[in-house]
Every structure is written in C-alpha cells, then in structure tokens.
Amino acid sequence: MRFLDLVSLIFYNLSRRKGRVLLTAVGVVIGTSAVVVLVSLAVGLRENATKQLWGINDLTSIEVYPGYNVKSSGGGMMMGGGGEIEDIKYLTPNAIKEFEAIPGVKQVIVEDYFQGNLNVIHGKLHGYSSLMGISLDDLADMGLEANAGTTELVKGTAIVGSWINRNFYDPKARPDDPPLEPPDLMGQTLKFVVSKWSQDGIEIKKTYSIKIVGVLKESRGQADGSIFMRLEDVTAWNEWVRGTRINRNKEGYSNVIVKVESPEQVIDITDQINTLGYMAYTPQATVQGINSFFTILQVIFGGVGAIALLVAAIGIANTMAMAILERTREIGLMKAIGATNKDVMSIFLGEAAGIGFIGGLGGVIFGWGASAILNIVAVSYYASQASEGGGSPLSSVASTPFWLPAFALIFATVIGLISGLYPALRAATLVPVTALKYE
C-alpha cells in the first residue's frame, strides 16, 4: 500500500466518524494544552527567577572569602557553621598566587571594604553607601559598564553604582515635603566624611573631597549599591580607622574575585578553591540550583498535563476498540480483497495517531493562546502592582519555548499511536472469515 494512499485512507476513515473523532480529540486537546500551558508557565517562571537574580550577569566570576575551619563537637574538622574556629585560611598575596596558578583563571581582583562609618555629602543632601576598594585600573574588567563618565579608576576619584543617588536624603526635610528627586552625581565633587570612635567614646571625623568620574549602568548586582575607589585609597582609610598598618601577608584581604576564562569552568574552579580551604561562591551555583528547581517544576507541571493526556489516551483506545467492533466485517472485507495484516494494522494505528495529531494540533493552538492570554492578564496585573508598590514589572509569566509546540504535537501523536496499538493488533490478527461473519 502506498504511503499517500494510507494517509488518505486514514483521514477518510476519520472523516466518516467526525463527531466521535472530535469528541475523543477534545480529550487530547485538553491534555496537550495543559502540557503547553503548564510547561510554558514553568519556563516563564524560571526565566523571571533568573532575571531577578542579583549579579547573574557575570557568570565568569567567583567570589572568594577567607576559609574558616571549625572544630565540630564530635572532634572532626568541618567548614563553616558554629563552633570553635581552629584555623583560618587568609586571602594573602600567596593565596592569590595560588588562585592565579589554577588553569582557567584569567585574573584575580582584590576587594576591600571600608570598615569605618561613611557619610557622603552632596550640598545639603546626605547619602550612605558601602565603599569598596578594588585592585583594578578599569572596572570594565569586572564586566561593569559606565552609564556616564568612565569606568577607569584614578587615585582620589570614585565611581558610583547606578542606585547610589537614591540613597541621598535631606536631613532637614519635613514629612510633608515632596519626595526628593535623586541627584545627578556625575562630575560632582562629594564630601566623603569618614569617622571612627576613639577608645574614650569620642567620634573622630575626617573629610575628603572626592570627584565622581563615572556612574555605572545598572548591573542588577552588588555594584549597583556600591561606591568604588582604588584599593590603596580604601586601605589607607581602613588603616586610619584601625590606627595600625594592615599586614596583608598575615591577615590577607576581606575577599577577592576570581575571574575565569569561560563560564563552563566556573563550577570546577570554585570546587578547586573550596578544596584549598577557602570559601568560594559563584552565582552560577545559584543559577544552577534555580535551574534544577525549575526543571523539576517543569517535569511536575508537564507530568500533570501528561496525566490529562493519559486519560485522553484511554479515550482513544476506547474509541478505536469500538471502531474495530463496528468495522469487524469491513476488516474481514479488506483482508478478503487483499489487505495484509500490516495494511490493516497501519490503517488502525494511523487512525489512532491521527486522533492524537488532530487533538495535539488543537491543544498546541489552544495552549499557546491560553499562555498568551495568561501573559496579557498577568503582565497588566503586575504592571499595576509595580506602579503602586515599586519593583520591576514582568515581561511575561508564561514563555513557550520554540521546541514545546513541536514536542507537544509529536507527544500527542505518539500517545495516540500507543493507544491504538492493542486495538490495531486485534484488528490485524482477526481471522478473515470470522470477521466477515461477525454480526
């Protein structure tokens, strides 16, 4: 039997029982659309979750902190948690050399936070921020971009994160004053008032005039809320706060960033650094964790849809079994006029797969439409919520990946095919004379 004849006969047979085929296909439509909507929802949630993550824009970075080996109550050694600290692995220049020697490491950037109090003054406005000293000439090496000015750090200047201007307030403002417009800090010379407390409880202040030479683009990371200066500037201020010189060979740096050549190497190098006794963290691990969670969610959601498809599959099997009972004489006739078992099997399998395909096609269209409606409703709802209560609006809640409609269609067709296996096998193995005499 020619393939085209087989296909035309299958669709001819399906068209003979339109009502029943459509009713059976409705089950598949519901199942397939459930798969499409739920998986789209899971994918959309995953995309939104990863977008909302802090600092995921740079997946080649590993943050490294000193390692604390803590003695556990059982006497063994363990990392982190409570207990008595037995050994500290400081981020000394030697440790940095160790990191640089790891294959795949591109650069090690030293960070040091200002440990005193900082008050930033711009005219009558006061601001607050964390101040970070960094061993880089150019913040572009950290993957940061300038929204205004430069990313190049020069001694005695500072570059501010994109949200810093929101941290300014007027200390003399009255409650009924209009909300403050965030100031434009680019090119401004700000007063950095650093302070410490003496042993007899007196606050000692020092004021520096620092020019803002750059405002960074929003990175949705820690940089958005930080002010960057050169490492030696911040180290000098920290030494003033402490009243002693800092011996890096002994107590090291507060943390370093290890830049890796490619994102694929990040997890492996993080593990290597942890094995050396330091505490290494990469946002990629969080992304992977979130991805794993949403993959599980996707499977669960897909599974719920698949249950609906399974119910539909039973419907297909029932329809095909009924069709075979009704068409037993026709099967006998087909065999009498020369149809082989394979021909009969192909016809009935094709009909079952055809019901799956029709239902799958309807389900994909319906599911895609439902996802689109869900997006319109949810996005407008979140947009109104965001305008009232702040926060970033969602672009979509359900995202249909390009492979999903094709997968759902193939899946529904295969489900139909599987459902038709037993009835088709029964039809194919009927003894022709028995089939012809069937009443």
Binding site: M1, R2, D5, L9, R16, R329, E330, G332, L333, M334, K335, A336, I337, G338, A339, T340, N341, K342, D343, V431, P432, V433, L436
Partner: protein, 243 residues
C-alpha cells in the same frame, strides 16, 4: 504436473469448537475444479458449503487436508502471502454485498487496488470500466444506500473483478435479492464464465443449475451424489408427522 484441476481439494477437514462441542463442518472433502468451469455447490444450511468456499479462497485454514489453487498449495502459506494470493487470484462476492456504506460505487470498486499500490488515476479508469461492464456507468458516484440490492451486488461483482482474478468465488450471491435481480446476477456470472473466469458459486437457488458446468452436493460436510442429495432434501422438506 500437467492436466491438474485448477482447484484441487484433497481430504479436507474443518472442525469448529462451539463451546464444548466439536462441530465437523467438512469431513474429508475432495474435489477437482477445472479452469474455466462454472461450479455450483449446493447443500442445506450447515452442510459446509460456505466453509468449503472460504477455505478455497484462503480466508480460513483447514484442520486437515490440502488445497491447491493454480498449482499453489494455499493452506501452507503465511498470512501475508495468503493476502497476496487473495488479492491476485480470487474475487469474492458475498450474499450481503459487503460494500462500504460511506464510499461511492466507484470507490467501492477500486478499493482493492489501494492494497495493490495502483495510483488513483489508474484506479478510476479501471473502476469506471468495470462499472460500465456491469451496467452501472450512470451510478458511479452513488453510495450503496442510493442503490437497489441488485445494483449493490453488481457493484460487488465489479469489485471482485478489479484485480482481474482467474477465480471468482460467490457465496449466496442471489440470497438477498428478488428473483429478477437474482437472475441478472446469475446472467452476469455466466457472462464472466464465458469470458474465461473460473466460477464457484455456493447457493440454494435451483435456477443457478442452468448456468453450471458441474454440480457439487454437500450434506453434513461430505460430498454426496445428486440422488442422495435429493432424497435428503425431500426428507427435510416433508411435513413433520406426529407419532
């Protein structure tokens, strides 16, 4: 081997299990049917005549015995080869026509050609030609429900001829027809016989005898003489007398 009958049946047995009871439908039947003959098989209900016909047509398997059709021993064939045998060698005509209700006459006639891999254009040409032959050229697009019984059976005859088989097997072809339509079908079968086809007809209809070149009488699964057949059928038709 030369001069062998076209259809050769030897020591054919066919048993059916009806619950716990074993029914012997055929009990050692042996016949030879020559190529180009018109054989009429007669017998009362349950005599095994339809069973014999279906076994010759390869629609069922015997319990014992051999069946040769055109030098091919068919009871040993696997299901696929048997399907090809039925497609190429045999045309079936049934009492209840067995037409597909949703298909037009032309589609019913050409239906077997789908399994032969013949393209739609060729199928159409062949089916139109055969419908013309059976006198239904003006009913090609009609569905079975729009045709009379006689017309439906003529469509079935055309369908049986579509693969140009040498053997035509007809099971009670006039059983569901009025006497006039029945006679028309008999005439059609006679024409096919004259055109060289080997015809085997199972029937109760005594009018079919006038077209037959040989007669086979079956009683209780065995071949009997005409005299024995007559005695038995007369006995069967006598009114039942009490005591």
């Amino acid at each position: 081997m030369k001069n062998q009958p076209f259809v050769r049946v030897s020591e054919l047995h066919k048993d059916f299990k009806m619950g716990e009871t074993l029914v012997k439908a055929l009990n050692g039947v042996s016949i030879g049917i020559e190529r180009g003959s018109f054989t009429v098989i007669m017998g009362p209900s349950g005599s095994g005549k339809s069973t014999l016909l279906y076994l010759i047509g390869g629609l069922d398997w015997p319990t014992a015995g051999t069946i040769h059709v055109d030098e091919q021993e068919i009871e040993t064939l696997d299901e696929n080869t048997l399907a090809v045998f039925r497609r190429n060698k045999v045309g079936f005509i049934f009492q209840s026509f067995n037409l597909i209700a949703s298909m037009a006459a032309e589609e019913n006639v050409s239906f077997p050609l789908r399994f032969s891999g013949i393209n739609p254009a060729e199928r159409k040409v062949r089916s139109q030609k055969l419908l013309d032959l059976v006198g239904l050229s003006d009913r090609m697009t009609h569905r079975p429900t729009e045709l009379s019984g006689g017309q439906q059976q003529r469509v079935a005859v055309a369908r049986a001829l579509i693969n140009d088989p040498p053997l035509i097997l007809a099971d009670e072809p006039t059983g569901n027809l009025d006497s006039f339509s029945g006679l028309a079908i008999m005439q059609l079968l006679s024409d096919l016989h004259k055109a060289g086809k080997t015809i085997i007809v199972v029937t109760h209809d005594p009018r079919m005898r006038q077209f037959a070149t040989n007669m086979v009488f079956l009683l209780d699964g065995s071949i009997v003489s005409e005299a024995d057949y007559k005695d038995a059928t007369e006995l069967l038709t006598q009114p039942f007398e009490k005591g």
